[in-house]
C-alpha cells in the first residue's frame, strides 16, 4: 500500500501519464511504443481515476486486448483506478505514426508506411535502401504488414502498410 502511494506520487498530471504510456511497447513490434503508433487517443485524470481511450489499428488486431491489459497493469501498479475505453472514430491511420517511430521501424527491418497523401511512393528495402523492390504478398506476418522482396540485396522484408 505504502509502495503504491509512493509510485502514485511521481505521477501528478496527464502529461506524466502520457510519458508513462510512451514506455509501453507494442506487443507485436516491441521497438515502438503504443503512443508512437497513435493507439492512445485521450487520457483523462481525476485524482486516482484514470480513463485512457485507445483506438484499434485493425478491427481484428489480436494485440488490442494485450495493449489494454498492459495499460491497466501499469496504472494499477501505480495505485490508479484505470478505465480503458475503445474509440472507433476517427479511424486509425498510419499517418499518426511519428517520424521517429518510422525510423525505428526501418532500423528494426520493417519498411515504414508512406503517408496516405503519397500512397504510391516507392518502397525502400530496410537493409540496403534500394527502391528496386517487389511485393510478394498483400499480407505479411500480421494484417498491418505486406511481404516484400528486395531485388538488389535479395532480402525479404515486411512493409508496414499505409492504412
Amino acid at each position: 500500500m505504502v509502495m503504491t502511494e509512493i509510485l502514485n506520487d511521481t505521477i501528478s498530471d496527464v502529461k506524466e501519464l502520457w510519458k508513462l504510456m510512451e514506455t509501453i511497447p507494442d506487443p507485436e513490434i516491441p521497438v515502438i511504443s503504443i503512443t508512437d503508433l497513435g493507439i492512445v487517443r485521450h487520457i483523462e485524470m481525476d485524482g486516482k481515476n484514470v480513463e485512457v481511450s485507445i483506438t484499434p489499428t485493425y478491427s481484428g488486431c489480436p494485440a488490442m486486448d494485450m495493449i489494454s491489459m498492459q495499460i491497466k497493469m501499469e496504472l494499477l501498479s501505480r495505485g490508479f483506478v484505470p478505465v480503458i475505453k475503445t474509440v472507433l472514430s476517427p479511424a486509425w491511420t498510419t499517418d499518426w505514426i511519428t517520424p521517429a517511430a518510422k525510423e525505428k521501424l526501418n532500423a528494426y527491418g520493417i519498411a515504414p508506411p508512406s503517408l496516405s497523401s503519397n500512397k504510391d511512393a516507392p518502397v525502400h528495402c530496410p537493409q540496403c535502401n534500394s527502391s528496386h523492390t517487389e511485393m510478394i504478398s498483400h499480407f505479411g506476418s500480421t494484417a498491418c504488414k505486406a511481404l516484400y522482396r528486395c531485388n538488389d540485396c535479395k532480402e525479404c522484408f515486411d512493409l508496414f502498410k499505409c492504412h
Binding site: P56, Y58, S59, G60, C61, P62, L88, S89, P90, A91, W92, I136, S137, H138, F139, G140, S141, T142, A143, L147, K161, H163
Partner: protein
C-alpha cells in the same frame, strides 16, 4: 436515425459466418503466403463482427430489461433460425476457387454497402463502416486479383472458377433484396455498382456473368441452407457444452 437491432445483427452475422468459414483454411492454404492472407482477412472480418455485436448487445439491453446480451451470447447462443446472414456466406468453402469467389463477391458487396453506411447518421455504424472500409478495400483488391489469376490462368483454374460461379451465383441476388428491417439503404444503387465492378473483373478474367439465374433467398429472415446448422454446431459447441467456459 439508429438502425434496428435486426439489421445490425444481420451485418454482424454476415461477418461471423464468413469468418468461421474462412477460418477453416488456417493451416491449409495452398501456399503459406495465401494461408496467411486469408486468415488475416478473416481476423478483420471477425473484428468487424465483434464491433457490430457489441453495438447490438448495447441496443438489445437498452430496449429490454430482460435482455442481458453480450457480443458472446449473440454469437454463441443464438439458434440457426435467429441468424440473419445472407445465404452466400454460409456456403461451404469448396476448393480455393470457390473460397476466393465467395470472398470477392461478398467483399465487393460489402464495399459498396459500407460506403453508404459510412455516411449514415447512426454515428456508431458510421464509425464502424469508416474503419471497416479501409480493410474491405484491401480484401477486394486481394480477392479480385485471385479471381483474375484463376479465371485467366490455366484451363484447370479457369474451369474451377466456372464451377465456383455455378455454385455461388444463385446466392448473390439476396444481398440486394431488402428485408423488412433494412431501411435507409439504397439496394438498387449498391446492386448497380456491384454488378458493374463484378462485370469488369469477370471480363478481365475471361469469365462470364451468368444471366437469368433463379435466386435463392431466405437467410436474412432466418431461413437458411442446410449448411448453417453444421457450421454453428462447430462454432457454438464449446459454449453449448460448457456454458460460460473461459480460457
Amino acid at each position: 436515425m439508429q438502425f434496428p437491432l435486426s439489421y445490425i445483427l444481420h451485418l454482424a452475422d454476415n461477418n461471423l459466418v464468413l469468418a468461421q468459414r474462412n477460418g477453416d483454411w488456417c493451416g491449409h492454404g495452398p501456399i503459406l503466403e495465401q494461408d496467411i492472407a486469408i486468415t488475416n482477412i478473416t481476423l478483420d472480418v471477425l473484428g468487424q463482427a465483434r464491433m457490430l455485436y457489441q453495438y447490438a448487445a448495447e441496443i438489445s439491453n437498452a430496449e429490454s430489461n430482460n435482455s442481458n446480451a453480450t457480443e458472446d451470447t449473440l454469437a454463441y447462443l443464438r439458434k440457426e433460425h435467429e441468424f440473419k446472414n445472407c445465404l452466400l456466406v454460409e456456403q461451404p468453402n469448396g476448393d480455393w476457387a470457390q473460397t476466393i469467389l465467395k470472398q470477392y463477391l461478398f467483399s465487393q458487396f460489402q464495399y459498396f454497402l459500407y460506403e453508404q453506411l459510412s455516411k449514415s447518421d447512426d454515428e456508431r455504424i458510421s464509425a464502424i463502416a469508416v474503419k471497416s472500409l479501409k480493410e474491405i478495400t484491401y480484401h477486394v483488391k486481394w480477392s479480385s486479383e485471385w479471381v483474375l489469376r484463376l479465371g485467366d490462368g490455366t484451363e484447370e483454374s479457369h474451369n474451377r472458377m466456372i464451377h465456383a460461379i455455378d455454385a455461388l451465383w444463385m446466392y448473390t441476388g439476396e444481398m440486394f433484396m431488402p428485408a423488412a428491417y433494412e431501411k435507409n439503404i439504397d439496394s438498387t444503387v449498391i446492386r448497380e455498382n456491384w454488378l458493374n465492378a463484378v462485370n469488369n473483373i469477370f471480363e478481365e478474367a475471361s469469365l462470364t456473368v451468368p444471366q437469368d439465374v433463379f435466386m435463392q433467398v431466405g437467410g436474412k429472415n432466418g431461413i437458411h441452407t442446410e449448411h448453417l446448422g453444421y457450421l454453428l454446431t462447430d462454432l457454438q459447441y464449446l459454449q453449448r457444452t460448457y456454458p460460460n467456459a473461459e480460457w
